[in-house]
Amino acid sequence: MEQEMTSEPMSGAEIVMKALVDQGVDVVFGYPGGAVLPIYDALFKQNALRHILVRQEGGAVHAAEGYARSTGKVGVVLVTSGPGATNAVTGLTDALMDSVPVVCLTGQVPTHLIGNDAFQECDTTGITRPCTKHNYLVKDTEKLAKTLHEAFYVARSGRPGPVVVDIPKDIQFAECPYVGPGNVKHKTYRPQIKGDRRKIEQAVEMIAKARRPVIYGGGGIINSGPKASKLFTQFVKMTGAPTTLTLMGLGALPASDERFLGMVGMHGTYEANLAMHDCDLMVCIAARFDDRVTGRLDAFAPGAKKIHIDIDPTSINKNVAVDLGIVGDVANVLEEMIGIWKAEKKSVDKKAVAAWWKKIDGWRKRDSLKFKTDKKLIKPQQAIKRLYELTLDREVFITTEVGQHQMWAAQHFRFEKPNHWMTSGGLGTMGYGLPAAIGVQLGHPGALVVDIAGEASIMMNIQEIATAVQYRLPVKLFIINNEYMGMVRQWQELLHGGRYSESYSAALPDFVKLAESFGAVGLRATRPDELDDVIRTMIETDNMVIADIAVDPKENCFPMIPSGAAHNEILLGPEDEAEKPVSEDGMVLV
């Protein structure tokens, strides 16, 4: 990397501050400790950076992820050595799986003690090597500034991801001149941004010839930036092709667009999954053929040619062999595709595509997300649907935990814009939603930020309520409380004879009192007629709120493609479950 030189000598800790400011950072999520004290002292002496004290380092990384996903900027974490670093590991893995740009600074014992099992020492770079995009151990203060700038470049460019910079304490004290970011030109890391023109032309040809096309968009569209979502929407409109999105891709195409079939995959809609199964051309745009999307691989879209556009060459031909792979940034590739489509006045086979839509409209009529309401019990889907309907006039950001509530949120909350939906997709980390909501709120101070949670997941990072209250962040916790680890229970019903081994929520706190004890506001709804009032009070309260929504404990999440099944073996409801038992091959899958 080329650097611009400045000469004033400063301490390593001051270099960290200056480098963060020069990288455009305004908020850092962290927790102090012995090995980062010099950095915390430098933090104390400046005003450019805001530090948010989390209550456990895992929360810091998820908060940085929420901040990054909702703003498009790099999220920054500062933690100490040893347990500080190991607590960050789950968040780092989460960020790696979901391609979230995060720079995590970890303190380390002084260089002369490394390897001696010193107090709060761990092999941070060794532990985080497989769960980061890249990591560094800085052994020389002269290299600190350069390494930090490089870390930001690696985290945000190409397929984004988490980067760890491990900084021993003596490096934080030592003095040397600072170097600025300059022109970033990495000597080895140069991701391919522009797609191969010939392949893009070929893709246009294939799309124009398709009779039953499906566009399958993923989280990479969101990661590429708002321009990619605009181009994606334009591309969908231009071709008129039925379009589905992955869990991570929700918002890349407005949910209100008539071409949107809903989410694809294990808990995706009937029409999206059947369209994927029966299409003759699948255009995969910045998604990665995850097992939650494909179902049984040998029965995945058996009659389809496949085009795959992705910035990461390893995603192409990893799980599913494709006919045409295009490596490049999705915005770049889409722009070219749209350009060629217009210049050559291309059109899809209108008659064939109209017939295809007719078939899809038949599937749509099944209304696979429908649910029955009840006079006495609140249905979880109903709670989320009402939350959506009652917040339509506001700018809303939704985060989730992991489980049934997450899938219901994905199904029933409809996203019109990118970067408004933050969920742990790849790793499936329970405890993600609350700290992520804190990060989102810091990036969007005036907006309504709601963590749609489950009562089991929320217990995993419940301590972060204190963080929200301390910084007066009016984050809303909307707990879909069914007193079960619902998704675990649903699988136990499907696969293990309904033996609910350890999947119930015993000894739950009184969430209303819990909220009050932290200085937040607690609300509860137990009957359907209380639901709207609680939601209205929640969104109108200018404080952190925990809304405990007691829902029907028995409700399961449908549609569902059981593991080891194909898209066209989708279960629409509990009555289907009995008819189609899960195969032995499917049992061993996760």
Binding site: T125, G126, R129, P130, K133, H134, L137, V154, H186, K187, T188, Y189, D312, P313, T314, I316, N317, K318, A321
Partner: protein, 167 residues
Amino acid sequence: MRDIERHTIAVLVDNEPGVLARVIGLFSGRGYNIESLTVSAVSKDEALSRITIVTTGTPMIIEQIKAQLDRLVPIHSVHDLTISGAHIEREVALVKVVANGAERRESLRIADIFGATVADTTIESFIFSLTGKPEKLDAFIELMRALGKTEIARSGIVGIARGAKAL
């Protein structure tokens, strides 16, 4: 499994701590095979190292391995010697044979046939040094095993493409 291929891949990397761990971690973490792996600094300033990996897998897996290697930040370039045309592969073996009498004399005769050199000797042992293709080393070692107690050290494979083009 069908279509298992054996590929020799040369990887140019920054000579910095942790690079080898990244490469090895990639193979173990994703369940790829390593038949042989060698590494040494190769540039004049020692800034670059060359890792030669021999691996096996289906064509789809081999493509994955190369893409995964290429994605690692400190990696400069990845070259599949097996598909890029004719290339040379060499390996060094040091073979200690403990034997007396006729077996001892036979080991020396076979070493001569293979072009192995004697690197060390005692009254009851030889250490032979042999350089060549891995299959040649295999054949030599198999013969030596029949003649007495053996101890084997092998370097692992290094490879380079034929012709005037240099990386």
